[in-house]
């Protein structure tokens, strides 16, 4: 099978998965208990007529098959409707939250990936050394630590009570412009990004270490060493590229989850990203918002999986042949 065949198969798989997700999305949120309009009823003193009118406005009074057809048509044309709670277009609501999430999860993933991989490489190469033992136990400890707990710990330590070094929550302070604006955003990012980085660094370090240790026993590595190639070059040109494949998959998967937001960390630091928005949407049974959030996050996972498959095929030609 040629390159185009391989690509075509992957594209088809991705599209079919996406179609399934879109349909599942429709059913899932209608299975949830409760009614989005009734949630507002008590606080807004809505009469039964008001409630019926709002339900009709949202199209929730139509038979399910008809709702499904409307939903599919709207989704495929990029119309996600209005948020039940705020009556504002869903894409606008999501648009407000997407950049903070990309910043937070992107940086957290980047730092944990780079640092985790470097630690894993060094630990594997100097297996049994003090660095290896320390980093291994440290990685295991961090890997097993709930990120919510870790975040609370950092918040209590550095957010106000003990050392007041960083803001306790939010994305930025109001009323700032220019350079001060960017500095302020950086200050707000330190604790949540640190939490994410520490929370995931262990995972990358452990996998990279294990993968590299396995690779170091391979014949081609031993051969290179026997030929007198310096250790640094054996590591850089022979061992690491081959050992990197499992970590590479993990990195792509992590970036795929980027748009899902970091629900726990965003909650702990009152960080208004997509994760936080998902919690709000679930609590309020905001179906249109939930559907769009679910679709975006699953779409991102599918896209990055697809990219991983494609890239993997080039990195390891044996994959394409299967």
């Amino acid at each position: 099978m040629g390159t185009f065949g391989y690509l075509g198969r992957k594209v088809l798989h991705a599209l079919l998965t996406l179609l399934f997700v879109i349909s599942f999305n429709f059913v899932l949120f209608r299975w949830l208990p409760g009614d989005p309009v009734l949630l507002l009823a008590r606080s807004q003193h809505l009469s039964r007529e008001d409630i019926a009118e709002q339900i009709a406005n949202l199209g929730l009074d139509l038979p399910l098959p008809e709702q499904y057809l409307h939903y599919m048509g709207d989704t495929l044309t990029g119309n996600f409707g209005l948020s039940v709670r705020s009556s504002q277009p869903v894409l606008d609501v999501i648009g407000d939250r997407i950049v903070p999430t990309l910043r937070l999860v992107g940086l957290g993933t980047l730092f944990s990936t780079v640092l985790g991989v470097l630690i894993g490489i060094k630990g594997a190469w100097r297996r049994g050394s003090v660095f290896d033992k320390t980093s291994l136990y440290g990685s295991l400890a961090l890997y097993s630590m709930p990120e919510g707990w870790l975040g609370m710990l950092l918040l209590l330590l550095f957010g106000g009570s003990v050392f007041h070094l960083f803001p306790a929550g939010g994305v930025r302070s109001p009323g700032l412009e220019g350079f001060a604006y960017f500095v302020d955003i950086a200050n707000h990012l330190v604790l949540p990004v640190l939490t994410l980085t520490l929370g995931y660094i262990g995972e990358y370090a452990i996998i990279m270490r294990a993968s590299l240790i396995e690779m170091m026993g391979e014949d081609f590595v031993q051969t290179a060493r026997a030929k007198g190639v310096p250790d640094r070059l054996v590591r850089r040109h022979h061992a690491i590229p081959n050992a990197f494949l499992p970590t590479f998959t993990l990195i792509f998967l992590s970036f795929g989850f980027l748009l899902g937001g970091a629900i726990v960390v965003e909650f702990v630091f009152s960080y208004p990203g997509l994760g936080q928005l998902s919690i709000e949407a679930v609590n309020e049974s905001d179906f249109p918002l939930l559907q769009a959030l679910f679709l975006i996050s699953s779409g991102a996972v599918i896209l990055f999986n697809f990219l991983a498959d494609i890239t993997y095929g080039y990195l390891d030609p044996r994959i394409k042949a299967v």
Partner: protein, 618 residues
């Protein structure tokens, strides 16, 4: 050789970082040296974001607080009595038959965009609500009123029935006709389709600029994060004493909110949970004051009397017939230790309550409930009352029966309503103490709304949050509210009669007497058992601002999120502090400059040095 190169690289790196640090520190120093007079900012911590900037989409929490700072309402609340006080309407008089009310609006007011605000805007707003039956606000405009604009400062409210409605402070903000008028078509609002279409258009209006006439203007709204209001320099009324800005910061995690208060990033916080509140009290920080105010809601057990199906509901109710026995309801009340619920569930931060109206929210409308109908905790009396009513354990299994059936009540508890589940657990124990078996089902509010209308429950543990005017709260206990606001389709013709009567009583003392009578009847008849009045737990820094005012002005009043905005108008900075929250203790700018520049430089130096080493090795 290799060691020498590394030492050289290290020296270069140190030199670069050092010069960068010094340079950036100097840069930062220059930046702060020119700081002008900083605005006085009042930083408020709240636990939820506003629902919308559109006043027709308000829901809860800080929604009304933010809106009432941006918009004026026709009337405000008097901070002592919670009666109507001058707002956008400065004075008013009514005709002898109370069917025509002449309202005199403020002179010389302008909207935040500079357009003059006149009586015509008030009439437009009222007509929009009344003619198009805008949800929530429409109840404040009964008897199909019309509004006649006499001149720029006078509107006459014509009612088809005698009414006191114009004098009930509505939450409805006065809206600019030149903006909202564009949303209203030229069709006849009595045409249901026209009205429906207009309601939809109005509700979907984003109102991103939120142009009002209030003391503060919307400057910045960051969804899910903060709402920044700045002083309206052209405010028609007495301006705030010192505040230039009010910023509401949203904290979904209360622990983070408390940290921000402790760290000085917030000046005041609202809606703390009892655990965090008590920890603040225990800290006894001299710079932080705590306050237990009226939470605006009361917790209760509501009984399901059934009849939902007869009223047009979709499902047959499953309520136990014993609920119709007055002795049963009163005996259950006697079996419940209200104080224990307050102490254990609310950690002492709520108050035992008896009336459906609350001292903090309803002020002088609250009736004193006599001790003989308080049905205080007395297990033996409860058992005796059940025995005398024939609700006894005839088969000796330890559980009472009614009309030959074992009693086994289904209690609905709601996971996201404060204290509902824990209260339910205690109530299950109390019922067991008097020989009544029960089980409880816990659902979230969402599911509870579904079940509410089906009638598939015996009792639930929920809450009510009354308006200052008692009308809405009283209406909940009328017969025609079955499948409306009634908890469990309670019917009592005398309550219905008194409710209608109080709506027509235009002399306050007469209306109060009727409302008192209704409160006593409900306390005795016990369609719901009032358990406690919740508290709103607030804390504020005393080293940044002084002059906070409670609303209402009594010991239960709230400093923020009360019925008036007096705190925002009266607080003054302590000493030279501007109250400026800088967004948090933070790494100074020069450190970020150093890191931003230093790290890439360091990376380059290390990379070059290593590459050279690698080349030599190769």
């Amino acid at each position: 050789m290799r060691r020498t190169r590394r030492a050289m690289a290290l020296m270069m790196l140190t030199g670069l970082l050092g010069s960068l640090l010094i340079g950036s520190a100097a840069l930062a120093q220059t930046g702060t040296g020119t700081a002008a007079a900083e605005p006085v900012v009042f930083d408020v911590g709240v636990d939820s974001d506003i629902t919308s900037l559109n006043p027709f989409n308000l829901c809860c929490g800080p929604d009304y607080e933010v809106m009432s700072l941006i918009y004026d309402t026709g009337f405000q609340f008097d901070n002592d009595t919670l009666e109507a006080a001058p707002g956008f309407i400065r004075s008013w008089e009514r005709s002898e038959d109370s069917m025509d009310w002449t309202l005199h609006t403020v002179e010389g007011a302008t909207w935040h965009d500079g357009t003059p605000a006149t009586a015509s805007d008030l009439a437009f707003t009222f007509a929009l609500i009344a003619d198009y039956q805008m949800p929530f606000y429409k109840d404040y405009f009964p008897f199909e009123p019309t509004f006649e604009v006499v001149d720029d400062t006078t509107v006459i409210w014509h009612s088809t029935e005698p009414t006191f409605a114009p004098e009930v402070p509505a939450y409805a903000p006065v809206l600019p006709e030149h903006i909202w008028g564009e949303l209203v078509g030229s069709g006849d609002p009595s045409d249901p389709e026209v009205a429906k279409a207009t309601r939809k258009t109005v509700k979907e209006f984003e109102n991103a600029e939120a142009i009002g006439t209030g003391a503060f203007k919307l400057e910045e709204y960051e969804n899910g994060q903060f709402i920044r209001l700045v002083r309206n320099e052209n405010y028609w009324g007495t301006p705030p004493k010192s505040l230039d800005e009010v910023v509401f910061h949203v904290f979904t995690n209360q622990e983070a909110m408390v940290q921000a208060l402790k760290g000085g990033d917030l000046d005041i916080v609202d809606a703390l949970n009892p655990t965090l509140f008590n920890s603040l009290v225990a800290d006894a920080d001299p710079n932080i004051a705590t306050h237990v105010g009226d939470g605006g809601c009361w917790g209760n057990i509501a009984w399901n009397f059934g009849g939902q199906k007869d009223a047009g509901g979709d499902t047959e109710d499953t309520a136990d017939p014993v609920i119709h026995e007055l002795d049963f309801r009163q005996a259950v009340a006697r079996s419940i230790d209200r104080q224990e619920i307050v102490d254990k569930v609310y950690q002492g931060t709520a108050v035992v309550g008896y009336s459906i109206l609350m001292p903090g929210s309803n002020g002088s409308w609250v009736a004193e409930i006599p001790e003989d109908i308080q049905f205080n905790y007395d297990v033996e009396a409860a058992k005796a009352q059940l025995d005398s009513a024939g609700i006894t354990d005839t088969n000796g299994d330890g559980n009472r029966e009614y009309e030959g059936n074992e009693l086994d009540l289904e209690l609905l508890t709601i996971s996201d309503v404060s204290g509902s589940v824990d209260t339910g657990k205690l109530i299950q124990g109390y019922l067991a103490d008097i020989g009544i078996s029960s089980f409880f089902t816990t659902v979230n509010t969402n599911k509870a709304y579904d079940l509410w209308y089906t009638g598939e429950w015996d009792a639930y543990v929920w809450d009510w949050c009354p308006d200052p005017d008692p009308d809405f709260m009283l209406s909940v206990f009328t017969s025609d509210q079955c499948l409306g606001w009634s908890d469990g389709c309670y019917t009592n013709p005398e309550i219905d009669r008194l409710y209608d009567l109080q709506q027509t009583q235009l002399v306050r003392a007469e209306r109060k007497a009727t409302i008192d009578q209704m409160q006593l009847m409900i306390a005795e008849d016990m369609p719901v058992m009032v358990l406690n009045y919740w508290s709103d737990l607030q804390a504020f820094r005393t080293d940044t601002f002084t002059g906070h005012v409670r609303s209402p002005n009594n010991e239960l009043g709230l400093y923020i999120l009360g019925w008036t905005n007096d705190t925002y108008f009266n607080v003054e900075v302590v000493g030279a502090d501007t109250g400026e929250g800088d967004g948090g203790g933070a790494i100074p700018t020069w450190v970020w400059v150093a890191v931003g520049g230093g790290v890439p430089l360091a990376a380059i130096v290390v990379f070059l040095s290593r590459r050279k080493t690698g080349d030599e090795e190769a």
